[in-house]
Amino acid sequence: MTATESVTRQSPGAGPAKTTRKLGTVLLLIALLALALFASLLLGARSVSIGTVIDAIWNFDPSNGDQGVVASRFARTVGAIVVGAALGLAGAGLQGLTRNPLADTGILGLNAGSSMAVVLAIAFLGVSSLGGIMVAAFVGAAGVMALVYLVANVGRDGATPIKLALGGAAMAVGVGAITNAILMISDATMDRFRMWQVGTLSSSGIDTFLGAIPGVAAGALIVLSTARASNAVSMGDDTAIALGFNLNRARLIGSIGVVILAGTATAVAGPIAFVGLMIPHAVRLLVGSDYRWLMPACLIAGPILLLVADTVGRIIAPPSEIQVGVMCAMLGGPIFIIMMRSGMKSVSL
């Protein structure tokens, strides 16, 4: 216990001052989240006044058209918060437990696995309830994750980040082909699935997003419980084991949490990539690499990214809108490349 505490602290003696600063950063993130939330309600194809938004929040009048617009934006705002929190934390969990800076639920193929399982469930098992779709999404994500890690583990140097990324990408191509095959066979599924597959917050109602909250909460608690193990892993597997961590158990538990988070997010919003990559790295710059701070901060920063991406996508190309999944890929791709170029030296890929 004492050993791990001294280890997880950045540098002895700098404790209280650092904690105050981190707390300040987290409060700043919360303020940003509130701002992004308000902007998401305010901005869109139809412009409404700030007063209307405030009225719609505090004394809602169903007969007022402008307030109705705000209400319809409320659903996707809730969606952005739930999905962003899930994907951001899932990325942090993956990166922490495997010391893999390139880990992301999209890159490792988890989102694609969820998509395939959901399509399979809708087309052949007749699943239509949100719970059923979520279970299918977990199973798909878990299956792909297990396969990607098992396959990457073969060989002398084990599951290196690049083997995982390549395996995940290849698996996503394969799983995507099967998804396409099912869609081709069943026109009805294709119709239901087409918008969902882009990664969007506009095709589901608020009930769907609210229904996802228990799943995200459960997954988040599980992943958060692995924060100390992730801190230990960041010093190397041998050190972590010497400190008394059961790494296999921690990785198994963490993986379950990540799969629940990724599956839930994909079930309600479709596959959205790169959020799990960008958020932990951005947050690491702000609060440092202590996972006990980093993971909760990801829960706040993920929603900020998704709210901003969704809002910008709504107003960037009127009258149509660019889906949040497209926005995140356009933003995340360059960041992935920048990280690869700068990270190659410090991280052994």
Binding site: I107, L166, G167, M171, A177, I178, N180, A329, M330, L349
Partner: protein
């Protein structure tokens, strides 16, 4: 045609290999001889499989045709109905499928050999997405359907290859950097394709989605001729040179430079040929999943040696032709796009290739 082209790499192959130490020379020659005979045997079996698949599709395509009538049509006679089905549907499909498969197989094998990684096929490292995205743009925004589509597709593939190359060029370990940059660019291009799809009219969107799975349905003699001329020109004029230079590059870039090779130009030419061989078919058939990916490793496994580029082309042609037969016959009331078959049946092979690559240490 295949038999003559097959013999080429093996006959020029040993001349380029630098002299081995005397002690190993004896076993080295017998090994090379054994490998050569394995390549020939595999090529022979591949041709047999290809011919069988062609014959099977001619007789049992969507509808069964009486064998006598098929022979009559192939003999040059006109049989009402059957003539049309064979000459305007089945034969063009086979021709386009074989050419596309050969192009994709060679393209994938060139990338895999050059980067020394079986996972580095154009469909994983983003080059295929570049060709696809450009073609989707040309179809949806510009409404092109003819050779301009091929030109767009080629330009898109080359542009993305250049971008990935530029992004990854600094420093050592270019191979893994190139693959990672390709993954990221590929993800962005997928998003772009999805966005373009949502911008299209409903009819166009459904056509494009069908095309995106990889389909031979739009095959005609014009397409086949276009592919034959473009792929044939590259294959005859540039491919022999690229194969020779590839052997030198594989010795390491310093050694290749010492042998008098201009490494920069050799790499650029190799990338151009590999991209063109993959991008030109994509414009016609759409991205058929896994053909470029699987052809090389399958030949390597069958010959128990390194990937033979031309044999990979033959394997690609065979894979597409076999997949085409199954696509037409798997479901009685539904003709699947051929890419669905290559994708769904390719997935288990993919896992096998991943395991194999990782266990030999070539996965990363």
């Amino acid at each position: 045609m295949e038999a003559t082209t097959m013999a080429q790499p093996t006959s020029t192959g040993d001349a380029d290999v630098p002299a081995k130490p005397p002690a190993a020379a004896q076993s080295g020659t017998t090994l090379a001889a054994r490998r050569r005979s394995r390549v020939r045997r595999t090529a022979l079996w591949m041709v047999v499989a290809l011919v069988l698949a062609i014959a099977a599709y001619l007789f049992w395509g969507r509808d069964r045709l009486p064998a006598a009538e098929v022979f009559q049509v192939l003999g040059g006679e006109k049989v009402p109905g059957t003539s049309f089905i064979i000459m305007s549907d089945r034969l063009p499909r086979i021709a386009v499928g074989m050419l596309a498969g050969a192009g994709l197989g060679i393209s994938g094998a060139l990338f895999q050999r050059w980067l020394g990684n079986p996972l580095a096929s154009p469909d994983v490292i983003g080059v295929g997405y570049g060709a696809s995205a450009a073609a989707v743009f040309a179809m949806i925004i510009r409404g092109y359907t003819d050779w301009k589509l091929n030109a767009f597709s080629l330009a898109g593939g080359l542009l993305v290859a250049a971008l990935i190359y530029w992004l990854s060029a600094a420093g050592k370990r270019t191979g893994s950097r190139l693959i990672l940059a390709g993954l990221a660019i590929g993800a962005m291009l997928q998003a772009l394709i999805q966005y373009l799809l949502t911008q299209a009219q409903v009819n166009t969107a459904s056509d494009v989605m069908h095309w995106l799975t990889g389909s031979l349905a739009s095959s005609n003699w014009e397409n086949a001729l276009l592919l034959l001329v473009s792929l044939g020109a590259i294959g005859i004029l540039l491919l022999p040179l690229v194969l020779r230079q590839l052997k030198m590059l594989e010795l390491g870039e310093d050694a290749a430079a010492a042998l008098g090779l201009h490494v920069g130009w050799a790499r650029a030419l190799l990338v151009f040929v590999a991209v063109a061989m993959g991008a030109l078919p994509i414009a016609v058939t759409g991205p058929m999943a896994f053909v470029a990916f699987l052809a090389g490793p399958i030949t390597a496994a069958l010959t128990r040696g390194p990937i033979n580029i031309l044999l990979a082309g033959l394997t690609g042609a065979t894979l597409v032709t076999i997949a085409n037969f199954f696509a037409a016959n798997l479901f009685a009331d539904l003709s699947l796009p051929v890419g669905v078959i290559t994708g769904a049946f390719g997935a288990p092979f993919l896992i096998w290739i991943l395991v194999r690559a990782n266990s030999t240490g070539s996965g990363a």
